[in-house]
């Protein structure tokens, strides 16, 4: 059996999630040895035609062309993994979904007629069947390696399914809500970062998106009782994973 073919694709994004692969300094040459990097524009000029065993997809769908491109990638890929908040939730650019897109275009560009964009920024799974999702803005690079290794081995990846709040306790941080009365989204946010924000004495800002069955309403009530400003709280939910925390600011 030959090496598995890995492809990396970019849609609307900051490049940070695919940079996570190049940031695996200790593992990069071993990864390039273990798999055939068949399409990864940021890293190589070499392009090998599909089909691909695994496609990592970064970024959200924001143009009609990209909506077609992702369908072609699906046809050419055995496994599709959506990586990062843009690919899994539309990213920060999904804030347009709650605004007038024509006004946005004319606010930034002198010639709106040169710009082709959709009115919304949507996750990859809104357009095609996605096999696995890895959350985070950016994703955790160790989890990315684990996920690729697991899907090549045909096993389930070991990615934490609990909340940042649990990671925070495991890390031994002092709770910033209890001790400092800070607004923190740790109880409702997917684990994966290692509770970085509370470790530097700030509240979690939800960049890994909601964990499964998160009770965001209950948390919002508690934070308001603690004196959090309601508008600020709405903005906290309405940032990097707005489409997934929608009910906490649209009501």
């Amino acid at each position: 059996m030959g090496k598995a073919k890995l492809a990396v694709w970019k849609f609307a994004s900051c490049d940070g999630c695919q940079l996570s692969i190049l940031d695996c300094e200790d593992e990069l040459l071993a990864i390039a040895d273990a798999v055939e990097i068949a399409n990864f524009t940021e890293m190589t000029r070499k392009v090998i035609d599909g089909p691909y065993d695994i496609s990592l997809v970064e970024g959200s769908i924001t143009t009609a062309d990209d909506a077609q491109r992702i369908v072609e990638i699906r046809k050419n890929s055995a496994v599709i993994v959506a990586i990062g908040a843009c690919a899994t939730a539309g990213g920060i650019q999904a804030l347009r979904n709650y605004a007038d897109i024509d006004e946005y275009v004319s606010a930034v560009y002198a010639h709106p007629e040169y710009i082709s964009t959709l009115a919304t920024s949507r996750s990859i799974s809104d357009f095609i069947k996605v096999d696995l999702e890895l959350h985070g803005c950016p994703v955790n690079k160790e989890h990315l390696i684990e996920l690729v290794a697991a899907s090549l081995a045909g096993r389930k990846p070991r990615i934490p399914q609990y909340s940042v709040c649990e990671e925070c306790k495991l890390r031994g941080n002092v709770c910033v809500v209890v001790a400092e009365n800070m607004p923190c989204l740790g109880p409702v946010t997917s684990a994966g970062c290692g509770a970085l924000c509370p470790a530097v004495k700030r509240g979690c800002y939800g960049c890994f998106g909601p964990m499964q069955k998160a009770n965001t309403t209950s948390l919002a009530i508690r934070l308001k009782e603690n004196g959090a400003d309601e508008d600020k709280l709405h903005r906290m939910f309405k940032t990097f994973n707005a489409t997934k925390f929608e009910k906490e600011f649209s009501s």
Binding site: G16, L29, T44, Y104, S121
Partner: protein, 434 residues
């Protein structure tokens, strides 16, 4: 290089230029031996940061604008902080500004080393990527990866995370790292500095085409330090102005081929920011070892050859390691780790040196602390017009190359400037027509 004869008319189209950050294309049209047209097209979809920043809180731009670019988030965070602090008339203590410089050194190292070793160096060996480079010179790539890792470590220890640091806030840092946490890095930073000194020697021995440029160069300048984290904006044309006055002088034009705006000086002159501009305008402020390396490398102090930016970038890696070691040696944790910033209505400007060049932010705040208007001018939109000038220069001097050689040459000419397309779209495919 052996030159193959080619037809005098052709089109070169590169869709998706590799080993750059983001999505862009290059179209070149040559007719009867005459260069008719060069267009650098940026088709990275627009993300509208300047639109959705309106109505957000004054404390939010460091986290939000970081997401413009995963490779240089600190550049966005630092310019945003300076601009908002300017609007609120707050100046942070020297200890805080110095800690910002240390974080920024981490970003310069990881971004520059990524470009020098993984993206740019393979061009000089005619290779597709760094994995192929590792097959012929594994220790070079391994040294590069070690330096890059140390840049990321600095960002983790100071910023809390390498990509999109969490520890930066308007006014300073949520928490200051302890002296011990920083001292733990010193031994590896010293080893990395040795590798960085070797890297200057390694890249200086590459084969460089003889190309010269004449557009103005623009970078921050500072009385004593090599510019990274703040300064005034100076040019080879002789001006030296505040970030506000600089923004007033540049005109951002929206052209059909690009979702990035083209910035020109006084609306007409292409100019360049980044390593070549910083090197030319700040040679005397190079750190001591970096200056020795520059002298030993034989690079002219007024070098205007964009292919030699790989030497300049490598020298700046030496600067960043020296600066990091100096800052850690003198470090006293700022206490408190931030200044209290109270919002007020006003306009503020902030300019810093991203790895790719000068980045300017401007915010107008309301008295409620919400952003009324945001303007972000990243390096690649400023450099785009100058990159097209370089392409014209390269093509005019190499009409006798065959299609494949000329295409590769054009791609390298673009990569010389490490364009960051996610940043600018707010870019690359090469397409040469003859």
């Amino acid at each position: 290089m052996e030159k193959k004869k080619m037809a005098t008319s052709c089109d070169i189209d590169v869709h998706g230029i590799a080993r750059i950050e983001g999505e862009g294309a290059l179209h070149v049209h040559i007719d009867d031996g005459e260069l008719k047209n060069v267009e650098l097209e940026i088709f990275e979809p627009p993300r509208f940061f300047e639109a959705f920043l309106r109505g957000r809180g004054f404390e939010e731009p460091p986290d939000i604008t970081a997401r413009i670019c995963g490779i240089c988030p600190v550049a966005y965070q630092m310019s945003a902080c300076l601009a908002i602090e300017d609007a609120c008339s707050v100046q942070v203590r020297d200890e805080i500004q110095t800690l910002r410089r240390l974080l920024y050194c981490g970003e310069w190292i990881q971004s520059h080393v990524l470009h020098v070793f993984l993206l740019h160096a393979p061009d000089f060996f005619g290779l597709e990527d760094a994995v192929e480079l590792a097959k012929i010179n594994k220790s070079a790539v391994e040294r590069g990866l070690f330096m890059k890792k140390m840049g990321n470590k600095l960002m983790e220890v100071v910023g809390g995370r390498a990509i999109h640091p969490v520890n930066v806030r308007v006014g300073g840092f949520y928490s200051a790292p302890s002296k011990g946490d920083l001292q733990d890095l010193v031994e590896d930073l010293k080893k990395a500095l040795d590798y960085a000194i070797w890297a200057v020697e390694w890249v200086a021995a590459f084969d460089f085409p003889d190309i010269n440029t004449s557009y103005p160069l623009v970078s921050l300048v500072h009385d004593t330090l090599y510019p990274i984290d703040y300064g005034t904006v100076a040019s080879t044309e002789g001006f030296n102005v505040s970030p506000k006055e600089f923004l007033d002088r540049i005109v951002e034009e929206h052209v059909a081929r690009s979702s990035a705006l083209h910035a020109k000086l006084d609306g007409e002159t292409p100019y360049l920011t980044g390593p070549m501009a910083r090197f030319n305008l700040n040679y005397d402020r190079l750190t001591p070892i970096a200056k020795q390396c520059a002298e030993a490398s034989g690079i002219e102090r007024d070098c205007r050859n964009p292919f030699k930016t790989i030497i300049m970038r490598s020298l700046e890696v030496v600067v960043a390691f020296e600066e990091a070691l100096r800052i850690i040696d003198n470090y006293v944790a700022p206490d408190p780790s931030y200044e209290q910033v109270l919002p007020r209505s006003g306009i503020g400007y902030g300019a810093t040196e991203a790895p790719r060049g000068t980045i300017v932010h401007r915010y107008e705040l309301g008295k409620d602390g919400l952003i009324k208007e945001a303007q972000i001018v990243p390096p690649t939109s400023q450099n785009q017009a100058a990159i097209e000038e370089d392409l014209k220069n390269v093509i005019a001097n190499n009409m006798d190359l065959d299609q494949e050689q000329l295409t590769n040459y054009c791609e390298t000419a673009v990569r010389n400037h490490d364009p960051c397309i996610s940043c600018s779209a707010h870019f690359l495919d090469v397409d040469i027509k003859r």
